[in-house]
Amino acid sequence: MKYREAFRLAFSQIRSQKLKSAFAVLGVFVGATFLVTVVAVIGGLNRYMEEDFGRRIYGLNTVTVRRIPSVQFNPSESARREWQRRPRLTFEDAESVEARLEVPAIVGVESHNGGEVEGPDGTTLGNIWLTAASPEYFAIRSMELSMGRTYNDAEDRAGSAVVVLGADAAEELFGARDPIGKTIKVRGAPFRVIGVIQKQGSLLGISMDNRAIAPAHSPMARLVNPHGIVDEIVVKAQDEVAMGRAMWELESIMRERRGLRPTDANDFELETAEDSMAFWTRISNILYATFPVLVGIALVVGGMVIMNIMLVSVTERTREIGVRKAIGARRRDVVRQVLVESAALSLMGAAAGILFGQLGAQVVSALTPLPVSVAPVAMIGAAVLGIGVGVVAGLYPAVKAASLDPVVALRAE
């Protein structure tokens, strides 16, 4: 009952000083906006990395054997030198893995490079992502075709000069024309287009559709790597358990092939989507560690502004407080009135911030492929923080108001 009265008063006070109130809550507003938006964006990034990035770059339940790690964090000079001394991966390695792996799994190889592609009418596309890969590649990467077909084992073994294009590459080379059956040249070598991949979109700003994929044993192989060498051996298992087992088997097969003694370290890398995510986890941990500090700064500044505004407000209303005390307001009545006003003010700022943060999240969602959505916990957190900042900021002004001597306060102008 007393709180209802205090709320009524608080809102009438806030309403009567709209502009001042709006400025007072700016800091809390910014803090809440920031909190809601950042939590939403990090959440979206996480989901994106886990679901999209992991699945598209690495594939589900996939282990990749590489010579050197695909993602490196400030490697030391000695580590770099060690990587350079490692033997390269070969087709023989891949064949051996395929032959000896007991867990049912798809084994493929891939090699990548950048290069130029020339269309039938002489258009040249630079900076195309060239891939020489086994036929399994499309299944491992969960790629669907929008037209044509992929190549098969026979074509791979025969080294057929066929190519599957990315959606962007196909469009730029052929426009509206049907590319199937046409010939393109990759660094002078002719390839017959047999298929086009469905649009993949971009990942971290890099187009996933500007590419040409040819069989592992096709002439593309020597355009991306020296003879007999592959970048990656990719093993896709049926499920997570099988993947773990495949990883274990892969390691022993590779160690045996390399003739490593039990005390020697691996001279190759085994990577899974989860490993590659480690770098992202580090980034998101840094974000999660930094942004409470930023939100905290905004809220502290916001709290200080509210405290000052409330001090001014208390001073302006000295007479009113004197009257209230004269007619029976106790200390706690005055404290309650100031605290409720301060908390209500702050909560309004937080509420505006929550709305604005949602707007921000929607903008990010519209402009990027990130599946950004505002977590309810972030909104509740922002609201609770808003009230908390208001209460803390109102404490000193409230106590000051409550301590006013009614005789002095009644004499105030």
Binding site: M1, K2, E320, I327, R330, R332, D333, V407
Partner: protein, 262 residues
């Protein structure tokens, strides 16, 4: 000193014994009030007079429980006030004292009705009780048709009526008015003093702090303060107002006679 022997009995609403207030200003001590003894009975209508600096504001603040004495005792409605803390004093003010100020001191953003309800909020009354009693009180002071008006929409006299309604809402033991007509023209002053007269006729104990003899003329007793002490205290027949038409022999006897002290 022990004043317990002086605890009032019967109809004495205000009793002070040795009431003293000193202010320390730097190295100097100002004796605003020295050893004031006074008894005020229920339904008395008293004017507190004196030049500025005489201690009448200090006296009013002490009687109104807005301030605490440096020394001495004060019983309000038979209960000792000395030694109470801030919140207990707030409770006493809420229940036993109705203030009327020279500058009205209404809340500018609140309606007349809400202003009158205010003491009831601090008394913890429910919204429906508050509303009903405040409406009744505004009717009583003749503002039944102005309840939703804000102070700025009311004339000075109407504002002071709202203030009187607010002062009376908790049926206080004393109505304490500090220069209630100081901001009003003479015609409106008369209206307010007539209202006081009616309230007095209804049994209300009223103290009016004033420097105007014209206002004191409405009352039945005039206490004159000088240099923090009572220099005279006389009961008299009101010469003005409604009450003036109703002289009472009760108020003819001199103050300080044996009959006053139990």
């Amino acid at each position: 000193m022990n004043w317990d022997d002086h605890a009032p009995a019967g109809d004495i609403v205000i009793r002070t014994r040795g009431l003293t207030k000193d202010y320390v200003l730097g190295a100097e001590t100002v004796h605003a009030l020295r050893d004031v003894d006074i008894d005020i009975e229920r339904n008395e209508y008293v004017a507190i007079m004196g030049p500025s600096g005489s201690g009448k504001s200090t006296f009013m603040n002490l009687i109104g429980c807005l301030d605490t004495p440096t020394a001495g005792e004060y019983w309000l409605n038979g209960e000792p006030v000395a030694g109470k803390d801030d919140d207990q004093l707030a409770h006493i003010r809420n229940r036993l004292i109705g203030f009327v100020f020279q500058t009205f001191n209404l809340l500018p953003r609140a309606s007349a009705l809400h202003n009158v309800e205010l003491p009831l909020i601090y008394a913890g009354e429910s919204a429906s009780v508050r509303r009903e009693r405040a409406e009744r009180m505004l009717d009583k002071v003749g503002l039944g048709d102005r309840m939703d008006h804000r102070p700025a929409e009311l004339s000075g006299g109407q504002r002071q009526r709202v203030a009187v309604a607010r002062a009376l809402i908790n049926e206080p033991a004393i109505l304490l008015a500090d220069e209630p007509t100081g901001n009003l023209d003479s015609r409106t002053s008369e209206e307010i003093m007539d209202l006081f007269g009616e309230l007095h006729g209804g049994g209300q104990t009223i103290l009016v702090v004033t420097h105007e003899p014209d206002i004191a003329a409405y009352t039945h007793r005039t206490v004159l303060l000088r240099d923090g002490m009572i220099s005279s205290d006389e009961r008299h027949t009101p010469t003005r107002g409604l009450a003036g038409a109703r002289p009472s022999s009760d108020y003819q006897r001199p103050v300080g006679s044996a009959a006053d002290v139990p």
